[in-house]
Amino acid sequence: MAQVRDIPSPQSRHAVSALPIQATHFHEGQQARPLDAFRLDVAQVPAGDPLERHLGAWFVATVVLDAAAQANGAERQLLVRRFLREHAGQQLPPLPAPVDPEILSDAVLAIAGEMEDAVCLALADCALAALVRVLPAGTPVLMGRALSRRARLALAEMRTDAARRLWTQVQSLGRRHALPELTARAALGLGEIEARLGHPKDARRWFVRALAVDGSTGDTRAGAYHNLMVLSAAAGDFEASVEYGRRALATNVHAHRRTVLVHTAQLLLDMGHPADALRTFGAALALPLAPEDGVVACSGACVAAAHALDRDAANRIVDVLALRIQAMARRFSLVPRLQYALAFAFAELRDAYARLGRHEERDAARERGRAIAAAHGVGGAVLRLDAPASIATPPRPALSPAAVRRVLAIGAANDEAWLPASVS
């Protein structure tokens, strides 16, 4: 199961100081300006990275949106139209027809999603904050969605107070306007805060409440099932965990599917089903993954391949995925919050090499992981790297036959052609 991993403390961001002076993070109630957010994100992208071009475009888009938020009346309409035309590629009806707020909201949420996937969280937050100010009164659902996304970004950076404040706003919007979608989203978010703070009972209560709301959306249900899956696995209740994972996948929500697949694969691996885990990791790797999930999926697939396949096939898979892990380590070398996942990935890669008897690569992977962990002060990863490499297949926990069938069904359902071309 996905283990509870160290979250780098916010102050570790100070390690990044590529610029003469840059925003670090912002104290409560203070809204970052687009330029400050941009500086923060630029500092996390290595110079010359292809992402720079997108980053510049996202910054300009955020500036235009922010300017629209500060303007009024016709000027705001003009800026919003230009934003949609130039940055979201939208065809709009001619003036004076007003812009549909839903189109604007969808466009900003899409751009913010791209920023988030590229780990540009500060700029994404800034764009969403501008969206909240631009949206006209009488659009509580859209406002709630934007606030909810902002809260999720805050939680990703472990700014739990800010996340709680934002989700409480979503909750009160839902209550005031009788909108079950927002009520359920807020319950899910507040549960995630409790889970991150290490309060599983409170978290479970919130997730169950989110599922009980009549009229919640598919992605909220998927999120609640997924979180219950993680909580159950952490509590050692694999049967319940498997069942929640199956329900989360049954919602067919793309955004959650990829994370659920990664966690399910990890669960299968921990339960001693490396072949099924490998297939499920493969299904996840075939999807565009968020950086955290990508790192976990690659390293997990290496371990699963080392346990499930013959030596030649396993070596080929591990070689391909090791290159991917190294590329991600280079690309995200300046992103503090991913360093634990990267150090941990090298620890798993070390295990895979050890299982395959490739001692030189095993030691190199351990050293690389240790270097990352030492540079970013992620002690948990150092402990993991200093422990002996685990080469034995994990024992299978005692499960009911029905649960075993469900586990295997999840693996089989995601048996997709995914092997990298060089392997096949």
Binding site: A18, I21, T24, H27, Q30, F38, F59, V64, D161
Partner: protein
Amino acid sequence: MSAPDHPSRDADDAPRNAARVVRPRIVALVRAQVTGSTLQNAIAGRMVVEAVTTVRALSQRVRARGRPLRALIVEPVDADGVTAATVLPQLAAARPTLPMIGYCDPWNDESHSVVELVRAGVHEIIFRGIDDAGHALRRAIHSATHMSAAAQVLDGLRPHLTPDGSALVTFCIQQVRGGLTPRQMALGLGVSLRTLHRRCASSGLPLPSALITWVRLLLVVQLLIQSDESIEQIALGLDFPSAVALRNTFKRYTGMRPTEARDNGGLSPLLESFLAQRAGARPPRRR
């Protein structure tokens, strides 16, 4: 062939009493002279905009003596197609206190240039048609000046600080304009107030409240040196209740008045004073 370089408005155009009040200048690298005129109109009566169209002319004009140079505004590329970002680090080294502002067009495909400008060290970015007029432009110049002053203070302090101390001071400098309190500082850094106290002590820094005040005072002196702002404007910009409160705090912490500190060597003596007092120091008591 690039257009000839000349100031958009020369000293001769100034009112007769200009002999007594010398308006500072801004050097602007723009591809079209008309853009220089637009900038001049936006800050008419306060500063003189000297527009140049090539990077080479920009370097010469920045190094030239004359009116005090208050800021630099640069478009990403000059009239000859040379990237401005290539020359900015040299200009920053030649004039470390010079605020630099990037000037981009949001509707042309200049987005990659924004990254280059920011990496080259510009303190602010303004966009054509969005914040290049009137109050917005003046605010951008003001903000760039503050950023530049903050960078100066940080550069002065950094060699004397531990990495953690440097992180704490960076946070203070970055956030001090938003009315920073120790509690907000702890929240922003994701630690409890007690942990913040402990971190300050272990880094050899004063208690958070004293640290915040020291950072504000260091910024005051640097702003007195490199901006046109009066002591009242600086006081209000840094969240002192009034100029009197600023003077009193300054006197209590340093034994000097702000203008005395500026005239007696500027930032360096004040930095020494801070570094001498920092370890375990509590805020001086009011008399």
